[in-house]
């Protein structure tokens, strides 16, 4: 088990290093931060001063090492724009994002998994076909389109709900719906196929043959096995809790981490972008780790490998 933990931690560190490097390379290749932050009309002297100030004149590898060293010390820098601490800027936005993503995750699970299981149990029935058609429509539709459609219906036409902002709980309903529908569709499809696969296994027939009632066969024998592949998807969704709302936050002008990221990228505000990316990487890695532990809990065949690894 210790070896397993060590391996996992090692892999997590590598992932985070790669993410940090990637962020640095992409942001530096796509434009000069000084030029963008100071604006097109800034006098050349001001831009030069900004460069010297932020070390942008040094060779690129020196900048990278400095940047990397700072991260190692836990110093994520300050925003190039207003000098505020990047961590603080990001941390302030997290609650707003979670206000959307956590209810959305719950909704995805509550809708998607039961729908998928029901469809699998009534395969090829009318309801199965309806669930699957809905699921496909749900996850193929881009969320900005879905968001706009919902706004059109519930805000513009019916006038029931506000179309943007963060003033009350009512403001959160449309963004949450927009985010949930695609994920619920994905989960429905996954749970359905996992369940169909499991229901075809010989051990399901064994359980029936020994006289276990069908409802118990489903609950006691099929679900624990079908949960294994579904956990992967849920883990991915948990991993994107912090930063999975970029599009929706923009559509509904919700002041969360996602919108901060959009603004920071367009400003080449390196410190803020990298801080968000680190946060995303860390949550992804953490949820992956949780998924792996959960696998071991759900599947004894993997548990042995973990213990021996």
């Amino acid at each position: 088990m210790l070896a397993f933990l060590l391996t996992r931690t090692f892999r997590a560190l590598i992932t985070i290093i790669l993410v940090v490097t990637f962020a640095f390379v992409v942001l530096r290749m796509s434009g000069d931060p000084a030029q963008i932050i100071m604006g097109p009309d800034a006098p050349p002297e001001a831009i030069a001063a900004f460069r010297t100030n932020w070390g942008l004149d040094d060779p690129i590898w020196q900048q990278y090492l400095r940047y990397f060293g700072a991260i190692m010390r836990g110093d994520l820098g300050v925003s190039m724009r207003d000098g505020q601490s990047a961590i603080q800027l990001v941390a302030e936005r997290i609650p707003a994002t979670l206000q959307l993503t956590i209810p959305a995750l719950i909704l995805k699970l509550a809708l998607g998994i039961p729908a998928g299981i029901y469809a699998a149990l009534h395969r090829n029935s009318l309801i199965d076909r309806m669930v699957m058609a809905g699921a496909i429509a749900g996850f193929t539709m881009p969320s900005f389109v879905l968001g706009l459609i919902l706004v059109l219906i519930f805000s513009v036409t019916l006038g029931w709900l506000p179309s943007g902002g963060q003033d009350s709980w009512a403001h959160a309903i449309l963004p949450i719906l927009t985010m949930s529908i695609g994920g619920a569709g994905i989960l429905a499809r996954f749970s359905r196929s996992a369940m169909i696969e499991v229901l075809g296994q010989p051990y399901i027939r064994t359980a029936s043959a020994k006289g276990v009632a069908w409802a118990r066969v489903v609950r006691g024998h099929a679900l624990p096995n079908a949960a294994i592949p579904v956990v992967t998807i849920v883990g991915f969704m948990v991993g994107s809790l912090v930063a999975g709302a970029v599009v929706v936050e923009s559509v509904f002008s919700w002041p969360g981490v996602g919108r901060l990221l959009v603004v920071a990228v367009s400003n080449r505000d390196l410190a803020v972008v990298q801080c968000i990316l680190l946060l995303v990487a860390a949550t992804m890695v953490a949820s992956n780790f949780a998924v792996d532990l959960l696998y071991g809990f759900l599947d004894p065949r993997l548990r042995n490998n973990q213990a021996k690894a």
């Binding site: 070896a3 060590l6 391996t7 021996k308 690894a309």
Partner: protein, 332 residues
């Protein structure tokens, strides 16, 4: 031995299995000092249970895997290094047929194309000649010429195995290794394919290694039979002899375990315990934990495969001192 068409001397194949990056590797001996020889136009059967190393032995003599120790010689020459031009040249002369024909065939190509593929790879004949040859091959394995246009999934299991065999003999191989080639087939179809293999051998003088867990089929098709247990040959004799008078206690149990119509259960030797795990090989004779005749020496000393009479070798300590008679083997 060296005059044999195919000869393997002291083959050893060790696999290292590693559970994770921080654990130490353990070596598993899948094949342990196996020697065998085969003349043209004859068949050697290899029988054994799972983990006996019979399939690995087949792949080693074909040069598809490199032995950790020991040598293979084919037609008087040593097996060339893997992936060299000489090695590739030998591929046309030796072929492998294994259990699952559906896995061996490409489902997107017609069977005619697939049978002709080896001819194409080894650049044999013009396109016209190859087409004629495919028709000839299909006839040889009992397929109709019009079936060349079919796809694998449109054929039955027996027909697919015929396609695989037709492809294997396309380049007139001199050696054919069949690894459980008929095991997945129903009896009535199995007999068709076994007969086909026997006819092909008779017509073309192919040397054959027939690996199977099915003792009845092995007996029918083989001239000589080697019995493997945990990577070693424990007994080798002519097919008639080994089944009529098995000498090694394991061979006796194996032969006795074959259900024969009309043989009552109580006459059979029923081995206790499981087929052993190659990763946890018992000391001494690997068979001793399951052997009814085991003596102290069996626990400590590994018996060598010794020739005990003309054309017959057994690896058992009891062979020297007190011979295991058939009677004592049947007392249960």
């Amino acid at each position: 031995m060296n005059s044999a068409f195919l000869a393997a001397e002291n083959l050893v194949k060790t696999y290292t299995s590693r559970r994770g990056p921080f654990s130490t590797a353990t070596a598993v001996r899948a094949v342990d000092r196996v020697s065998l020889s085969l003349a043209r136009a004859t068949t050697l059967g290899i029988v054994g249970e799972s983990g006996s190393g019979k399939s690995t032995t087949g792949r080693l003599v074909l040069g598809l895997e490199q032995p950790t120790e020991g040598t293979v010689s084919f037609d008087g020459n040593r097996m060339p290094q893997e992936k060299t031009n000489e090695w590739r040249g030998l591929r046309a002369r030796m072929q492998l047929v294994y259990q699952d024909p559906l896995a061996a065939l490409d489902r997107r190509l017609t069977v005619g194309v697939q049978i002709g593929e080896p001819l194409q790879i080894h650049a044999m004949g013009s396109a016209e000649e190859r087409k004629a040859r495919v028709a000839e091959l299909m006839k040889a394995v009992g397929l109709r010429a019009d079936q060349a246009e079919r796809y694998p999934h449109e054929l039955s299991g027996g027909q697919r195995q015929r396609v695989v065999i037709a492809r294997a003999i396309a380049c007139n191989p001199e050696l054919l290794v069949c690894d459980e080639a008929v095991s997945a087939l129903d009896v009535s179809i199995q007999a068709q394919v076994v007969n086909l293999l026997r006819d092909l051998q008779e017509e073309r003088g192919i040397a054959m290694i027939f690996i199977s867990h099915d003792l009845k089929v092995v007996r029918n098709i083989s001239d000589r039979v080697a019995v493997m247990y945990l990577g070693r040959i424990v007994e080798e004799a002519s097919s008639d002899e080994i089944f009529r008078r098995p000498l090694h206690p394991y061979t006796q149990a194996l032969v006795s375990s074959v259900p024969v119509a009309g043989t009552a259960l109580k006459q059979r030797i029923i081995l206790q315990g499981e087929p052993p795990n190659p990763a946890a090989r018992p000391t001494g004779c690997a068979f001793h934990p399951r052997c009814r005749h085991a003596i102290a020496r069996c626990r400590s000393e590994t018996p060598e495969l010794l020739s005990i009479e003309t054309g017959r070798s057994v690896a058992c300590h009891l062979m020297g001192s007190a011979p295991i008679t058939e009677a004592s083997g049947r007392t249960m």
